[in-house]
């Protein structure tokens, strides 16, 4: 995109200069006289639950404070004495976030409002004018603190460190001493014996096979080295 624009610039330059010179004189007169007002309305998040004095705590700034506006009782606002141009209008409220709006006033006094896009500045998503500004949501300034839960306490490493050894030390030997549990354990063991092939054999076989493989390889490489 940038490349294209760069190419265009040299072509446009002579025309630009001409037009600048031509319009310079007439521009000054018009610019001084023509001042516009931006109008709109700010809606509180919820009429019932909003603070009684939200209007006094809401400000409207244009271009980062170059022009300012205040909100009246009914939420409407007017910003006076604005020459034609392009402006970013922000609603400032410490409790709720409002989306900024770009307002463009052309030299003929036509208004256009659109979404602010700093990255793709030429992208136009039009918004209604006079402005109707609704909050996006409550501004979240704070991180939520983790709540204390009993599971957190129980599974904390320190508690585990204290409890698990106790379990191993005290409970397991007792369980093994108990004749019933011993029977049960034996039963379980016998059940697993039937269903599963001997694990130890399997593993040892597997390892043995690999080991043979490896020895072969190493012998080969050692031969090469020799």
């Amino acid at each position: 995109m940038l490349g294209k624009e760069l190419l265009l610039v040299p072509l446009l330059l002579p025309i630009f200069i001409n037009s600048i010179i031509a319009t310079n004189e007439s521009n000054e007169e018009i610019e001084i006289h023509r001042l516009y007002t931006i109008e709109g309305k700010v809606y509180p998040p919820d009429v019932l639950f909003s603070r009684p004095n939200w209007q006094a705590n809401t400000r409207i700034i244009v271009n980062g404070g170059e022009y300012i506006g205040f909100v009246k009782e009914d939420g409407s606002f007017v910003i006076h004495n604005i020459p034609s141009g392009s402006y970013i209008l922000e609603v400032l409220n410490s409790e709720y976030t409002y989306e900024p709006v770009r307002v463009e006033i052309n030299t003929k006094g036509k208004f256009r409002a659109r979404k602010v896009n700093h990255v793709q500045t030429s992208l136009v998503i039009q918004l209604p004018y006079p402005l109707k500004l609704k909050p996006i949501g409550r501004t979240k300034y704070f991180q939520i603190r983790e709540q204390w839960r009993i599971t957190d306490f129980l599974f904390s490493p320190m508690v585990l460190m204290m409890v698990l050894p106790l379990v191993f030390l005290m409970v397991l030997p007792k369980m093994l001493n108990d004749p019933e549990t011993r029977k049960e354990l034996e039963q379980v063991q016998s059940l697993t014996k039937f269903e599963m092939p001997e694990m130890t054999d399997l593993v040892s076989n597997f390892l043995a096979g690999q080991g043979q493989h490896q020895t072969k390889k190493t012998s080969k490489s050692s031969k090469k080295r020799q």
Binding site: F70, V71, E73, N81, S86, V116
Partner: protein
């Protein structure tokens, strides 16, 4: 897929850096931060019966104060006070303010109890004329005066702004000097040739004259002031004496026969009409008194103001009376506002409005407590033999134990001793009116304040500044810390050097220089008694030293001392060396000069002198080291040039302060102020407004020497083998910044966060990590801990260090390291004052706030008990088994 991946990565980074690292918890509010709101110097004040004061200030603020405690009920901040001024405040059923810049006037109506805007309309003038406003029965009268010719009168309906009829021209060749003219009620009055000439604006427009010579007065050195009263009156002031001249609607006049002080107001007390004025008593140590004067009977009641504080030329703004009890609103020369209760004469409350305009700040460390000091003194060289030292050790340890037992460690918060983590400091503030304040960082309370009359700040590049230096810190115990403030005499413009102890407020010395100050700097080397000498360079090119005895130190360091000076008028920067100094006289010689021609120097940035660069390089993925270019003499500069084609061109320079070599420069077309520069370690960040895309852009620069370091022990500006490699990258800041700085920590190990004060009231932190430029030469890629490029810097509300406390008109942010490596103290000043501390890498050197001490004790005790129990059980089992 790749696109999706990058988005996912960005999202993860977003989560990683914003949601986790630096948001506050809600219960941390007010724990280590405080905010103070100010309104500025009062221009108009109005006391109504609602127990509220409505004020309009020089800062272009309309506010309502509580009469009982002075707290702000509501505050509305209007346009920039540099261009706009409030001209009228009229309070009846609602407060009406008229403010503007000479061309455009805003008339706004405010609700008295809530501060909500009720109405707003404008008056537009084609020409910039001196305007006066007055209100009469629902009509706003606008008077534009043209000296030696006429005045133009227009009437507007106060509520709707409707212009009633054409504007009327009234001939007035007698209007000569507009400074000698005033408007009071329906009268426009001027002082001219021993006469007070005045007209009634609503009737006949005929000029009346009151001859001063009739009453034996000369108009020479006399001035005329408006007087707010139920009747139209003016005050005639001569040599600190004043008389009230009442102007009646029929054109007749009445000079009240009482001699009053210029600070006089009228108040109604039921039927009575009284005058209240303040004056200094000749006897009784020059205390001030308020005189209550009945205009009918001439009866006088005198009240003495009971105060221990210095009271600088108090001026009554307004008063309200009920019987003999009065409340008087008084403003003094040092912009402090107080309410005095009559008849007791006691001050009910005081607001220090000077703090709304801070021109210099400095954090000062506190001295160690006497106990810690006694421990430090154990090993003093002068201390006697072994027995002596043993005795000292025992007593100091006994004292320590006593302190521990009494649990008075917590009380150190209120006393001015250093704490273990260096979080308790003092903030020295210099204000525009010339009042010094020292605030406690823990509470925000004023420790002491001192007014320096007839001083004013210097003109900086685009703001007013004062020079404040810490000559000696509190580390050198028996020697008290020492600070220096440099101000300008508001009468002669010459420099004033005020040396003081920041802890106690004691004046060490005051020096009046014979010429204006051009530049001043602290010598980096300390003298014998740990004092850093201050070098002052005057406009006459002379060098003065504070203290003067430091000339030998300067002489011995003359080859390594350099100074730079930006000349705003000459649009240049020059470097000086002290090479030609002798043992008797310090001398600065011009070494280099860079002329920027038609360009205007708008901003500059140097590294904080106390900054420490922890690591000299960066280890790359392939195990090689990329060395940083850390030049302590580097000056960053921004200039703006008018260009017919590209509007303003912003050029950014990096200049070596010793040799004057321009190391780097970059140019941005179609840009506009505000321009801010942040300079730290081997990197820089600058912001400007891009008019082409109408957005604020932030450029990050990083300087690297390369894979070899030319000199690992000392940096020399003279030994240039090659210029540094510069990596740069630009970002979009989706807001307008009014101040910017970077966090500073004691050892520089903690990662850095940029702090931007935005015009929307937030002070937000952006990690340097996400801005670090990555290019062809520099490191890149996730394996080196780099975050992929995102053009728009995310500014989530969680990153606001001031959460929901909006800060308006921020002028500066100052930072100071705590002794805790992770923490940095931050003071944001503007119309509001906000102090907090930030931890860019989280408080890695502190236990978590919710660290459970109880649990760890419980576990330890549990484990010990368990081990004993198991030991016993095991032994029993062993015994049993042996018996088997």
């Amino acid at each position: 897929m790749d696109y999706f991946k990058s988005i996912l990565l960005e999202f993860l980074i977003f989560l990683l850096f914003f949601n986790k690292t630096f948001a506050l918890y809600e219960d941390q509010v007010d724990k280590f931060d405080w905010k103070q709101s100010y309104i500025g110097k009062i221009e108009f004040a109005n006391l109504d019966s609602l127990k509220k004061i409505i004020v309009a200030t020089e800062e272009n603020v309309i506010a309502s104060l509580n009469l009982k405690n002075g707290q702000i009920v509501w505050r509305q901040v209007l346009e920039n006070p540099l261009e706009h001024r409030i001209k009228l405040l009229h309070v009846q059923k609602e407060a009406v303010s008229v403010s503007g810049d000479g061309h455009n006037w805003f008339v706004r109506g405010w609700d008295l109890s809530s501060g909500t805007l009720l109405r707003e309309w404008t008056i537009h003038l084609d020409k910039n004329m001196t305007s006066y406003f007055t209100v009469s029965e629902n009509k706003l009268l606008h008077i534009a005066a043209v000296p030696h010719s006429h005045i133009e009168l227009s009437k507007y309906h106060l509520l709707s702004g409707q212009n009633s009829g054409k504007s009327i021209k009234i001939n007035g060749p007698w209007i000569k000097d507009l400074t000698q003219c005033t408007i009071s009620g329906l009268f426009f009055a001027c002082l001219d040739e021993n006469k007070v000439k005045y007209i009634n604006l609503l009737q006949e427009q005929k000029m009346y004259a009151y001859d001063l010579s009739d009453v034996g007065k000369e108009s020479e050195s006399m001035s005329i002031l408006p007087f707010k009263s139920t009747e139209s009156s003016v005050i005639l002031v001569k040599n600190d004496n004043a008389k009230v001249l009442r102007l009646n609607p029929d054109g007749s006049f009445y000079l009240l026969p009482y001699e009053v002080s210029p600070s006089v107001v009228s108040a109604t007390n039921g039927e009575q009409n009284i005058l209240l004025h303040i004056s200094q008593m000749v006897e009784n140590n020059g205390k001030y008194q308020i005189t209550n004067l009945d205009t009918l009977t001439g009866e006088e009641i005198v009240f003495t103001i009971e105060t221990n504080k210095e009271f600088w030329q108090p001026n009554i703004l307004c008063a309200i009376c009920k019987g003999t009890a009065c409340r008087v609103l008084v403003q003094t020369l040092d912009n402090s506002l107080s309410v005095i209760q009559l008849p007791s004469g006691k001050i009910v409350w005081t607001r220090e409005e000077a703090l709304s305009q801070i021109v210099a700040t400095e954090f000062v460390e506190l001295p160690v407590s006497p106990l810690d000091a006694s421990i430090e003194h154990e090993f003093d060289i002068g201390s006697g033999g072994v027995i002596d030292m043993f005795k000292k050790r025992i007593t100091s340890q006994f004292n320590q134990l006593k302190l521990l037992m009494s649990g008075s460690q917590t009380t150190t918060n209120t006393t001015l001793w250093r704490d273990d983590f260096g979080l308790h400091k003092l903030i020295v503030l210099v204000t525009k009116v010339g009042k010094l304040f020292v605030l406690d960082t823990l509470t925000g309370n004023i420790v002491w304040s001192k007014y320096l009359p007839n001083t004013s700040p210097f003109d900086g590049l685009n703001n007013q500044i004062a020079a404040l230096f810490v000559q000696r810190t509190a580390r050198h115990h028996p020697l008290s810390p020492q600070c220096i403030v440099l101000m300008k005499s508001s009468i002669s413009g010459n420099g004033i050097v005020y040396i003081f102890d920041p802890i106690t407020g004691n004046v060490v010395n005051v020096k009046y220089l014979s010429s204006p100050i051009q530049q001043a700097m602290l010598m980096p080397q300390e003298t014998e008694n740990f004092l850093k000498p201050l070098i002052i360079f005057t406009t006459e090119g002379l060098v003065e030293l504070v203290p003067e005895s430091a000339i030998m130190d300067l002489y011995s360091y003359r080859h390594v001392l350099f100074m730079f000076n930006i000349n705003k008028d000459r649009k240049s920067i020059s470097g000086y060396s002290f090479r030609h100094s002798t043992e008797k006289e310090a001398k600065a010689t011009l070494k280099w000069n860079v002329d920027f021609g038609p360009s205007e120097v708008v901003s500059y940035g140097i590294r904080p002198a106390s900054e420490i660069v922890h690591s000299q390089g960066r280890v790359l993925g392939d195990r090689s080291v990329l060395y940083k270019y850390v030049n302590p003499n580097l000056i960053a500069l921004s200039t703006l040039t008018d260009d017919p084609l590209h509007k303003n061109v912003h050029t950014f320079y990096l200049i070596d302060g010793v040799s004057g070599l321009v190391i780097y420069s970059a140019c941005h077309k179609r840009t506009r102020e505000p321009i801010h520069i942040i300079h730290s370690e081997n990197w820089l960040v600058y912001t400007y407004f891009n008019e082409r895309f109408r957005r604020t852009e932030v450029v990050a620069l990083e300087l690297y020497e390369g894979s070899f370091q030319s000199n690992s022990t000392h940096f020399s500006s003279h030994a240039i083998s090659q210029l540094p490699h510069v990596e740069s990258q630009a970002y979009i800041l989706p807001a307008v910044a009014s101040a910017a700085t970077v966090t500073l920590t004691e050892r520089g190990i903690t990662s850095k966060h940029l702090l931007f004060a935005l015009t929307n009231g937030a002070v937000t932190q952006v990690p340097w990590m996400i801005m670090e430029p990555r290019g062809a030469f520099g490191p890149s890629g996730p394996e080196e801990g780099f975050i992929p490029y995102v053009p728009e810097l995310p500014l989530p509300p969680e990153a606001n260090i001031n959460y929901n406390q909006s800060l308006l008109r921020v002028r500066g942010i100052s930072v100071s390291p705590a002794r805790l490596e992770s923490t940095c103290l931050v003071l944001v000043h503007g119309l509001d004052l906000f102090y907090t501390r930030v931890a860019p890498s989280k408080t890695f050197d502190l236990l978590k706030e919710d660290f459970d001490h109880g649990l760890i004790v419980m576990v330890l005790v549990g484990l010990t008990i368990a081990s004993f129990v198991t030991k016993y059980l095991a032994s029993q089992k062993a015994v049993r088994q042996m018996w088997k």
